[in-house]
Symmetry: C2
Subunit: 116 residues, 2 copies
């Protein structure tokens, strides 16, 4: 062969040049992976799962998950920051509810993936 590049590189440079500019920008990339990071914790999955059935306050969630209120509150904050849940104070209690219709669908899809 006369081309030293193709001699040592078996890579398809054409497809590299085509795909590289179509990659997501850094910011979108971090937003995406941050979203999945939030979902990637069993405590938070449980919280979302429970909240699918009803609005619930911290004490109730703590009883359902059988975890300390502190741990639950910490994780609720993560979900709140990610805008997956919203909170509403009523008296001494703070009630949480789902804030995004996508989440239920995404969990269902993930279920289909892991259940096979």
């Amino acid at each position: 062969m006369d081309n030293p590049k193709t001699d040592t590189e078996a890579l398809n440079q054409e497809i590299i040049n085509k795909i590289k500019p179509s990659m997501p920008k850094k910011e979108l990339l971090y937003d995406l992976s941050d979203f999945f990071k939030v979902m990637g914790d069993s405590t938070r999955i449980q919280l979302l799962w429970a909240l699918e059935e009803s609005e619930l306050c911290v004490g109730e969630l703590s009883a359902i998950l059988d975890m300390t209120k502190s741990a639950v509150s910490h994780q609720l904050k993560v979900l709140r920051t990610a805008k997956l849940v919203r909170s509403q104070k009523r008296g001494k209690n703070v009630y949480y509810s789902l804030n995004d219709e996508h989440v239920q669908t995404i969990v269902k899809m993930a279920l289909e993936h892991v259940c096979e």
Copy 2:
């Protein structure tokens, strides 16, 4: 009030008793959160993103992501273990491709969530 329980506990015990048994079992819970953990890394999102366009070998992915082949290989192993991609050896190269149709849909849904 005559009931000391309801006096100090503002919790709705009925809904706790209803929701608690409907919670997912530990194993399913871990499978679910593990799946999202795999998605919760920007390098792995990039790999899946690129592989949506075409089957690619490690060197090509390394060029597209602008990362060392070692780092790419390590992350491909994670995706392979999670059965999100499959690999096929051809000559000196190992070609990777997507192994699950759910993933593209899930990423699209996540995009809709983060893009608002």
